[in-house]
Amino acid sequence: MSALQKSLHSDEKYKAGKLGQALQKIGVGIAVVCLGFSLVYTLLSDPEPARVAGHFDPATNVGDRWSRFLHAYVIGWSYIFSICVGVFFLVLLHHLSRGRWATAVRRIAEAMSMAFPIVFASGLVFVIALLAGYKDLYYWAHPDAALCLEPAAGAACHEFLHPTLVHKLGWLSPGFFAVRYVIYAVAYTGMAAYFIKKSREQDESGDPQLSEKLRIASAPAMIVYSLVTCFAAFDILMSLAPQWYSTIYGVNFWGSACVGGFAALALMVLGIQRTGRLTHSINPEHYHDIGKWMFAFTFFWAYTAFSQFMLQWYGNLPEETVWYKYRLFGEWQWVSIAMLVGFFAFPFVFLMSRWTKRIVPSLVFFAVWQLVFHWLDLYWNAMPSYDWHVAHHGAATMVAGPLSGSTAYHHVGFSPVDISVWFGLIGVLLVGFGRNLKGNLIPVKDPTLGLSLAHENL
């Protein structure tokens, strides 16, 4: 017998209690161990020698040892950032569409998206490196690049920078980059803080007008959210290959982010239930819907990724296809194939079934699977740029900028730092989650809570 409304179970444990503190301790532990290992490993490692034949000179021609660390850091940072972006999407969409089913998990999503301040604080590592003039991360930050903006620079500049890049240097300058970074931080943090604050106010007052207020706020917030997500993806990931053009890049990043966000939400909800909390309120119906979103964005990611690839492949313009040249030939092609099969084909086929989403262990398997491949997606996007820095450091192709030279010298060149930095930043993310898991874990006085508790997928 199903009812349209249910009230909160009388034995339900919906208070966070010490949960947040415990999660923060775990997070700090992981972050200290993994980031510490990464720093030590990088300090002790030898700089990677340049690989282009005829240009190898051990004395001068070596890659910078921090370049790999910082590339891994940008990837790991994009990872934790994107998970917050994905989870926050559920909060916004729930209000915007007058959602019902997600009310039971909304407070958890709100708390997770409030990790934005810590995420943005951890990103200061590469912003400060950039401001300090470090050039082996973002090629456009090369100190000489600024000279090309001088009116007298002329042809000499084309020797040094690719012509298409010269036009982008007004946007891609360290100072402006830092300003935008602050804008993104303020926008995300402000929106996430507003939504959790009003939601917690409703826990006290039970005022149904607050729901209406949040619904009205969610429309402009969604617009701001879309814009800052796109531009953040352009700035932080896409500008690693600054000559390249792809207008759908931000959307593609967002698709991947939402896969990661919903997968992380499923794991977080399950983790909270494992501590004996919310055991009556959240059931396979809610996991099913989280799984549906994960499935939908798995396909959405593939759709946008193929849209990006297909147009550039067919158009066959050198300034566009060159980005794929490094990813479809040489060693990176195996990563590309792994993405196609692992991030799309396999989860797509299996998540299609109702039961893979309703049977919780199966959903957990796919959530973990997609969280790993979401990282690989970012790795695949960013790391070939590092490889270019190493392969062509000091070589003649350097003047043409990233996306030049032969793929023959390109290697995936896997390093333990790639994984340890990623895990370390996950620790940072857990601290961000833990800081906000306090008070009620469910919006106890939300007018739609009854509907959400009684939610059933037909």
Binding site: S2, Y314, E456, L458
Partner: protein
């Protein structure tokens, strides 16, 4: 609909003369419940009593009714998956058959069969067949369209799209009992239970003749375009095609090169007036515009470059860029006359000759003065057409310069290379014994 308006009757009262006056065989019983919750409870009791031939009717989907009635999950998702998969395979097969098997066509040397190019079509056919399966599968599994049902004769059933929650059990169920079954429904909380009888007239259960006639006629009309297409494939016609919009096809105006009786010469075009020249078309500089050098023996091809142009590396690069757009398709990137078009024509068994511009053994183009090269680009040579319409004068000179550079570089010796660039360019010397 009948005027069957009597009150609900219990078991044993269906022999009432008024009630069965227009009725035939008993079809089933119909019970009405007050709320969706009571309907679910009743459905569960009917299911537990072992009935299978029954159904519930409500104005909106009732959560939990499937489980209460003991309905298995629909197989529609499996069918849709099958339809979608068939769409993917069919879309790929169609493209392979058209592009790579039945009618392979070389388009700029692109492969006839390439998966990325086929994905969008395969995606669309996947969606198409999945949606078709979903739409028509839903109709078929729901036994739709159903234009007639015995329950339509019952007054209560009129409210099923409004506020009535009904449960009907068919008399053909093997557990059906004319007395016990209505009692079961009443005990389950029905606010009314009625027997429903079939109409004694069999004609009322058949599809109206006009609907059948409409289906036959519309099917016949739909075949007409196919019939016309089939006829056109196997017949020839000397008639001009139909003009559906004649006033668009034959507009009251003159187009270029038409006949016209207004002027004495019968032509619609008017030539230039004698002694005039269009604004900006004077082109008095023979050297720049025609490649002629007036100062040398009265109009010979010039061997110089016009003074308007700075002969520098930038001009060579401009010339290279224009050459590779306009000239390389035939003459080749190296100027040896083996461009993509001659190669492709040769591959299909034809002949397409393009001048080797850099051949030292047959140096026609090498010996041409600059002005003649310029004139050749402008006005053509043998079967080569002129490019005056496509390429501005300055760009034609840039191409001349680049052709000169090609002729030099393709016949260069080591001495032409600056000494500090020579390393690695020599052939290995023959080993001395």
């Amino acid at each position: 609909m009948t005027d069957h308006t009597h009150d609900p009757v219990g078991p044993g009262h269906d022999d009432d003369g008024h009630a069965i006056r227009h009725d035939g065989r008993l079809y089933g019983v119909l019970a009405e419940y007050d709320t969706p919750g009571e309907l679910i409870e009743a459905a569960r009791k009917v299911r537990d009593a072992g009935f299978t031939e029954f159904d519930c009717y409500s104005p909106f989907p009732v959560h939990g009714i499937d489980e209460a009635m003991g309905i298995k999950r629909t197989i529609l998702p499996v069918l849709i998956f099958g339809g979608g998969f068939a769409g993917t395979c069919g879309g790929l097969l169609l493209q392979w058959w058209c592009n790579a098997y039945s009618w392979p066509w070389n388009i700029s040397g692109k492969p006839t069969w390439s998966i990325p190019a086929n994905i969008p079509i395969a995606f669309e056919t996947t969606i198409l067949l999945a949606v078709f399966t979903s739409f028509f599968g839903m109709w078929i599994l729901n036994k739709l369209p159903q234009v007639w049902h015995p329950f339509f004769r019952n007054e209560r059933f009129n409210h099923v799209t409004d506020d009535a929650f009904l449960l009907g059990i068919e008399a053909r169920d093997r557990r059906f009992d004319a007395e016990a079954t209505p009692k079961l429904l009443t005990d389950a909380g029905a606010i009314g239970v009625e027997n429903v009888y079939l109409d004694p007239d069999p004609a009322s259960r058949q599809m109206p003749k006009w609907i059948a006639a409409f289906i036959v006629a519309s099917t016949a009309f739909a075949l007409i375009p196919f019939a016309i297409a089939a006829k056109a494939r196997t017949s020839h016609s000397a008639e001009p095609h139909m003009h559906i919009f004649p006033d668009m096809d034959f507009q009251p105006k003159y187009k270029s090169d038409q006949a016209m009786d207004l002027f004495a010469d019968g032509r619609e075009n008017r030539g230039e007036l004698a002694g005039t020249i269009a604004r900006g078309s004077l082109n008095a500089d023979d050297l720049f515009y025609r490649g002629l050098d007036r100062s040398d023996s009265g109009g010979a091809w010039t061997t110089k470059f016009p003074a308007q142009l700075d002969v520098n590396e930038q001009l060579v690069k401009r010339g290279k860029n224009r050459y590779e757009i306009y000239c390389a398709p035939c003459h080749g990137f190296d100027g040896r006359g083996a461009g993509a078009i001659p190669q492709r024509v040769a591959a299909t068994g034809g002949v397409w000759l393009a001048r080797n511009l850099v051949d030292a053994s047959n140096p026609v183009a090498i010996h041409m003065p600059n002005g003649q090269l310029f004139n050749t680009i402008s006005n053509g040579y043998n079967t080569m057409m002129g490019y005056a319409a496509q390429i501005p004068h300055a760009d034609r000179w840039a191409i001349v310069l680049y052709v000169r550079a090609l002729q030099r570089s393709q016949n260069a010796s080591l001495e032409d290379v600056p000494p500090d660039h020579r390393s690695g360019m020599q052939m290995p010397e023959a080993p001395t014994p």
